[in-house]
């Protein structure tokens, strides 16, 4: 029986790999997700057949409550809030690993007191087990609190602290205490040191908070991806604790996924992971004052109206939309798609230029546009769209700022120098739709807005787009 159960875990892990493989194209992705779900069902059934599972009441209760909450959240969440949702799920994943490892610790304590000192099907309380246990508990606890701080930051409930020195100090103290505590715990005999374990869990919960609070709100995409990776690694460590290969494989898949996305996000912002984690918020480092910002734009911005934009678009052959997070805030995805469809009806080539950090998490902008029924073939990645700007008649920048700033490639003194940008400035005409002239996340002015070929339309993206649409109809 034992062999069959382990085989079932392996089958589940293989199905997860096929499931992720399905995600390589939008056409096969739905099926891939279903394959993963089947894998999960197989794993759960196998676990229910384990010899140490004798009563099902609590299990069923737990599954019903979790399933209810999970399904409710999944059906209700707005696409703009996906980053919060994923961050919360990271946290629950880390929390589950923490709890499973803690429960296992208590069970091992009880097993050690039994006359024979062993219960069938239980792992051995050896060095490997102790190290895995401590890792699983530590990573799980940091992921749990770190993720919920990230959720608070994404929701705008938690701001960026003005001074990060105190948090850096807390992180250092926690780190030293945890390393020495872990070594003592493992060497002195894990089963006798339950009090130390509790102290370390509390320290880790604190560490999770102190690590994420100083990170700037603009860097949350990196943090979510990193915590995603942690939640996987915590699961893997739990797999080592329980001696379950299925868990180890799945955890490492998730860990690898999070790590890859973290690297992609860091590259897209031209920053190292250490700089994101310990550098504080970008705006606090390099931001300009309001007066400097005003002086930069003084008298150099050309403002235009929706009617003129409509006329420009009418004579264009190729139009590229450049959406940023501001578009999502203004809920302007649907208006954008409506304008795009109108242009296409006029035989104008329409594309969307997507910067990797355009949304608030990897791939977020694509989901927001997909929700507005923009065909995914029209969404073009940065590297592929950049050469096309030279042949573009009109580029419309909607709620994007730093990712279009030419200073990133021209000005070595700029804080964003070296960050890959959408080369919007190469288009014949650039229309920038923006409420005012306030700086973006990087806290610096954008010279794109004062270029000769740039025209600004001030106002809320959704309202401006609707004005352009009605002006187009009147033409």
């Amino acid at each position: 029986m034992h062999v069959f159960i382990n085989l079932a875990y392996l089958v589940a892990a293989v199905l997860f790999i096929f499931g992720i493989k399905g995600m390589t194209t939008p056409k096969t992705a739905v099926r891939g997700n279903q394959l993963s779900a089947v894998g999960m069902l197989i794993a759960v059934v196998a676990a229910l057949l384990e010899q140490n599972v004798v009563s099902y009441l609590y299990i069923i209760m737990g599954v019903l409550i979790g399933a209810g909450i999970g399904t409710f959240l999944a059906k209700k969440v707005q696409m703009t809030s996906m980053p919060e949702m994923v961050a919360a799920l990271n946290g629950f994943g880390g929390g589950a690993s923490l709890l499973v490892a803690s429960a296992n610790y208590l069970e091992m304590q009880k097993a050690a007191e039994m006359p024979l000192g062993m219960i069938a099907g239980m792992p051995e309380a050896d060095l490997k087990w102790a190290i895995a246990l401590i890792l699983s508990i530590l990573i799980g606890a940091v992921t749990l609190t770190g993720s919920f701080v990230a959720v608070g930051k994404l929701m705008g409930k938690l701001g960026d602290p003005s001074s990060i020195g105190m948090f850096k100090l807390i992180v250092k103290i926690c780190f030293v205490l945890l390393v020495s505590g872990s070594i003592y715990f493992v060497i002195d005999g894990p089963l006798e040191n339950a009090d130390l374990l509790i102290v370390m869990v509390v320290l880790c919960l604190l560490l999770g908070v102190a690590l994420v609070i100083p990170i700037g709100g603009a860097d949350m995409p990196v943090v979510i991806a990193l915590l995603n990776s942690y939640s996987g690694l915590a699961g893997s460590a739990t797999g080592f604790v329980l001696g379950n290969n299925g868990l180890i494989i799945t955890g490492s898949l998730v860990g690898a996924s999070g790590l890859i996305l973290t690297t992609i996000m860091c590259k897209a912002m031209n920053r190292s992971l250490t700089n994101v984690l310990f550098g504080g918020s970008m705006a606090a480092q390099a931001g300009v004052s309001k007066d400097e910002n005003d002086a930069f734009y003084e008298g150099k911005v050309k403002v235009t109206s929706a009617d003129e934009v409509a006329m420009l678009l009418d004579s264009a052959k190729k139009v590229v939309f450049v959406p940023g997070y501001g578009l999502a805030v203004a809920q302007a995805q649907h208006a954008t798609r409506e304008l795009a469809s109108m242009l296409q009806a006029h035989d104008i080539d329409v594309k969307y230029a997507i910067h990797p950090v355009a949304g608030r998490m990897p791939g977020h902008m694509n989901v927001l546009l997909a929700e507005a029924e923009v065909p995914y073939e029209q969404l073009v990645e940065m590297d592929n769209i950049n050469p096309e700007f030279a042949q573009t008649d009109v580029a419309i920048v909607l709620g994007a700022n730093d990712v279009t700033n030419p200073a990133a490639s021209k000005d070595p003194n700029s804080p964003i120098y070296g960050m890959p940008i959408l080369e919007v400035q190469n288009a014949k005409t650039v229309i920038v739709v923006k409420r005012g002239l306030s700086p973006g996340f990087a806290g610096i002015p954008n010279e794109l807005f004062i270029n000769d070929n740039s025209l600004m339309v001030h106002g809320d993206a959704k309202l401006v787009l609707q004005e352009i649409i009605s002006a187009m109809k009147d033409l």
Partner: protein, 94 residues
């Protein structure tokens, strides 16, 4: 020790498989990828089930922690798969 080497080998090889497969996922699908991996990391429910199953190794507190773990893991499983499905259907329709 041999057992440890074996499981560690599995861990390292699985990371390589993960990197190979995930590198091929296009940026368009990175958000569903993340929520999908959230769902599969709910596999830790397997350990939670064993702790909640009332075997002779469990006691009141460990069962309680186990049930709590089942709840969290199931939020991930059901929430993750459902929301991923929701998003992927948006990409599918024309």
């Amino acid at each position: 020790m041999e057992m440890l080497m074996l499981t560690f080998t599995i861990f390292v090889l699985a990371i390589f498989v993960g990197v190979e497969v995930i590198n091929k996922v296009p940026p368009t699908l990175h958000t569903p990828l993340m929520s999908g991996t959230n769902a599969i990391s709910g596999i830790v429910v397997v350990g939670a089930i064993i702790s909640s199953g009332g075997g002779e190794q469990t006691d009141g507190l460990s069962t309680f922690l186990g049930v709590l773990a089942i709840i969290l893991a199931c939020i991930n499983i059901f929430g993750g798969f459902t929301v991923t499905d929701r998003m992927l259907h948006m990409f599918k329709k024309k």
